[in-house]
Symmetry: C2
DNA sequence: ATCGAAAAATTAGTATGGTAGTATGGTAAC
DNA sequence: GTTACCATACTACCATACTAATTTTTCGAT
């Protein structure tokens, strides 16, 4: 196991620190789906006791990133395309509702923020900074929610989104999309500016549905990461 | 503190047992929003150590039912109408999408299950069994998701639904709806049977939106349960 | 060599004690 | 009366020890 570890920030508890470290390493696929982790192993690596590790495990298993088999062991969950599909279904439902709100009313200053975000995305594409691009992508969508006073709804999506993020990471490894995603973001921004609901709805459908067609390909390319049906 | 306690079932861990007990008592408002709980207090009441209590607290705070102030104390979260509204927004978005699926295709045998569920609801209304009616209500919606192969999507909703459930409990205390809810369930079932999408969408909007109009009234009646703006 | 049972090792679950941060109530100084 | 300080009594956080369930290894019998 080769964890990417950041220094513990001052002021956060050990438990939260462990949680953040593990979560990041699962999402960027540094911790391989299906592999086994143990409380003791992690506590040794991070030089903390088992208690905070255990608490981090509890949170992560509630997010569907870990799977605890009592008295047996804890495993990184395989990517479950069924779960991903349902996450996509939910995101599409909610994002369409939000876009409807955004087209009715959206604060000027946040339009600029969205534009800046898109510019930043371009840079990250050039630098091939996968993880950071993914985060910036999420930030883009979050900003739209923010503009509609639906930040809480976004944080809900966050909770079910971890699985989705891992697939996104894979698509980047496989070099599948990148610029398509960026273009779609540009189109979404346009549709908000021009108050063109129909275009917006279509782009969002494509934007999120895109994934479906890629999944089969991904599973072929990285079968070891996926749950058997 | 006067907890409603059920015997621990055989086969589940102490931690899960504690979690279930506390969750139930928060949702049925037996544990009053804003009041303080401590690991020690609960562990004494349930005759377990502090560790499983602590782990239950972690889960519950991730669901927004508790909030932990490190080194200070743990409190039952106030009902936050902002959160409730966003939960409603999300549910409406998703349930509409699901209803669309249900109208396209829904298994016969589950139609019968829905009908039986409605009958059971009638009984529970007569018995004035608040909590059980609420659970049966949730079961009704869950069954619809099930028929569309969207069970996972339902379990996502479950995660954000606890807050919503507390408000539902309040509406029952206040004797606001009951039969309205039942009638709407009947209508939803009808719309699936008759493949009448428009009627279904409308009922769902009303069904879930209903709450908004009741909230102001509830907050007046039970101000001590709600978060200050 | 193969099989099977006992022993050892490893796992997560639970209990407990100590620590550091925080709230509170009393008391002395002003 | 007001303020600053200190003792005390909480709190959640964390480390450690122990338990129970399960897996792996060992080793002897066949």
């Amino acid at each position: 196991m080769n964890l990417e570890i950041e220094k513990q920030k001052y002021g956060i508890t050990v438990g939260d620190y462990v949680y953040e470290v593990i979560k990041k390493n699962i999402i960027n696929l540094n911790m391989v789906p299906g592999s086994r982790v143990s409380e003791k192993e992690i506590s040794d690596i991070l030089n903390v006791s088992r208690t905070p590790v255990r608490e981090a495990f509890i949170k992560l298993s509630k997010e569907g990133l870990l799977y605890v088999r009592p008295q047996r062991g804890t495993y990184i969950d395989y990517i479950d395309l069924g779960v991903v599909e349902d996450a996509r279904f939910i995101r599409e439902s909610i994002e369409k509702s939000v876009l409807k709100l955004a087209i009715e009313k959206f604060p000027e200053e946040l339009l600029d923020v969205l534009q800046e975000n898109i510019n930043a995305q371009k840079d990250l594409i050039d630098q091939k900074a996968y993880y950071d691009f993914l985060m910036m992508d999420e930030e883009f969508h979050k900003t739209i929610f923010k503009g509609c006073n639906k930040e809480r709804a976004w944080s809900f999506i966050e909770q079910i989104n971890s699985e989705y993020k891992r697939v996104r990471m894979l698509t980047f490894f496989a070099d599948i999309n990148w610029k398509d995603v960026l273009n779609q973001h540009v189109q979404i921004l346009e549709s908000i500016k021009n108050k063109d609901e129909q275009m917006g709805q279509e782009v969002i459908s494509n934007h999120i549905n895109k994934l479906i067609f890629e999944q089969v390909e991904l599973k072929k390319k990285y079968p070891e990461y996926f749950k058997e049906d």
